[in-house]
Amino acid sequence: MSLSVQDLTIDIGGRRVVDGVSFTVPDGARVGLIGESGSGKSLTALAILGLLPDAATVGGRILWDDRDLRDLDDRTLARIRGREIGMVFQEPQTALNPVRRVGRQMTESLRIHTGRSRADAASRAIELAERMALPDPARIVRRYPHQLSGGQRQRVALAAALACAPRLIIADEPTTALDVTVQAGILTLLRDLVEDEGRGLLFITHDLAVLSLVATRGVVLHRGRVVEDAPVQALLTAPASEITRGLLRDARATSWSPQTQTPSETPQGEERR
């Protein structure tokens, strides 16, 4: 099932914050929305999910196959969210309910959408925990979010998003709050989960280096408009827009590569140890 956003506009408090954004995520494709904060990338994701606050006015079309998600009533939309389109947000700490065991949270959507029994859901939770490479699955599903590390919590959130085997996953900066090594693990897991089962992915980030790890195509946003839409390889090697070139420069200036110039040594540096 493919997602097609056409001429999306979002107005908040009389200001146009997203202005005519169009892009598609074909079935099974991995697409990134990239831009600085304030570029409208997260608002676009929320608009797709119908999760914008009432104060926001949305225009344009958001086609999920042939249906415009904007025309659907709340109940129908709620059936699509979680079941056909899964979501993962930035902060697993706030996305999870602190007083519910993580196993129950992983399968909540499953019970709501498919009416699985509690026992059934519990065994599915353990399966999911295993798939997410969480240690000691049978025990960990009985734990509470605060007993898990940040990376484990994000794996739980990912499991929750995947419980109903959705066709598309929308992930909004899911690794920003995590360590580099943990981030690499989560991104690899996310890419494998999407790739192995032919799901679509819409990945939102401000970091071109991160984007290059998960997506094959990138849509660059700036001040609510699309400034470039191209394969990730092209964005990295031959960016057409000045905005993309800036993002690439910034990503280079903050990430390490064998070409990185480290600061010049002070003369005293030579004699230490």
């Binding site: 580099v180 031959a238 990430s255 480290t262 600061p263 540096g269």
Partner: protein, 283 residues
């Protein structure tokens, strides 16, 4: 062969910090976590050291001990040849406070929302009883970090995350410290803002003759600013060396893992690393 570098600015010996955790059951024993394990560390004056490691590796604990925000379970810290007694009174630590400046991770949590930026930045001068015209110094230091002098009249909520981190930096250097401790100062920021603050840190470091200790879980950040790297894991320093050496020839398996995990971009089309001077200064 400069004799100045003979004794390090910071000297830590056998630094250990343990915490008692919560009891797992009533009346049960309290599990003990060793956050920092027997760490020796010398930091040369005017050098810049990056401390990298994952969460829980002890890097923040180490910085808190160096800044006397926490007392070690055992071991000693000396700064500028004087022993640091973290358990001492606030007044007895004045000398250390005037030598050090600190920047924390979250620019939203570290600035008092009810204080004007001028008061926030000027507070160390007032608290340390620094001589001279405080207002003029605040203005000067705001310009230095790339803000307008008028920023002094405004309040933290009027600024973006990157600008707030500039305010935090201004506050950290306003009293002309010799040592700047920065604990994940870039983690909460966007990549583009991060690039600009990295530039600012590198510039302040040379202009103000600072000794910089930069804590980060991100190798990319420290590679651009620090001439030395210490890698921490499980409360120990497992590798230390010059940045270029550690990046090119990591010795410890954990360092290799860290390097492998960092997202790597393809080389710039023109081959050379692009200079960062052309990056705009807006946050």
């Amino acid at each position: 062969m400069t004799p100045v570098s003979a004794s390090p600015l910071v000297r830590a010996r056998a630094l250990t910090r343990t915490y008692a955790g919560a009891r797992e059951r009533p009346f049960g024993p309290r599990p003990v976590t060793t956050a920092l394990h027997d760490v020796d560390l010398d930091i040369r004056a005017e050098s810049s050291l990056g401390i990298i490691g994952e969460s829980g590796s002890g890097k923040s604990t180490l910085v808190r001990l160096l800044a006397a925000l926490d007392a070690p379970t055992s071991g000693t810290v000396e700064v500028d040849g004087r022993p640091v007694d973290a358990a001492g009174s606030a007044r007895s630590l004045h000398w250390l406070r005037s030598l050090t400046g600190i920047v924390f991770q979250d620019p939203y949590a570290s600035l008092d929302p009810r204080m004007s930026v001028g008061r926030i930045v000027g507070e160390p001068l007032w608290a340390l009883g620094a001589p001279g015209d405080h207002r003029a110094r605040v203005e000067e230091v705001l310009l230095r970090v790339g803000l307008d002098a008028e920023a002094a009249e405004r309040f933290p909520h009027e600024f973006s995350g990157g600008q707030r981190q500039r305010i935090a930096l201004a506050r950290a250097i306003v009293h002309r410290p010799r040592l700047l401790l920065a604990d994940e100062p870039l983690s909460a920021l966007d990549v583009s803002v991060r690039a600009r603050i990295i530039d600012l840190l590198a510039r302040l470091r040379t202009e103000e003759d600072l000794t910089l200790v930069l804590v980060s879980h991100d190798i990319g950040v420290v590679a651009h600013v620090c001439d030395e790297i210490a890698v921490m894991k499980d409360g120990r320093i497992v590798e230390r060396g010059r940045t270029a050496d550690v990046l090119a020839r990591p010795r410890h398996p954990y360092t290799r893992e860290l390097l492998a995990a960092a997202p790597v971009l393809p080389p710039a089309p023109d081959g050379a690393a692009r200079d960062r001077e052309d990056v705009g200064r807006r946050d």
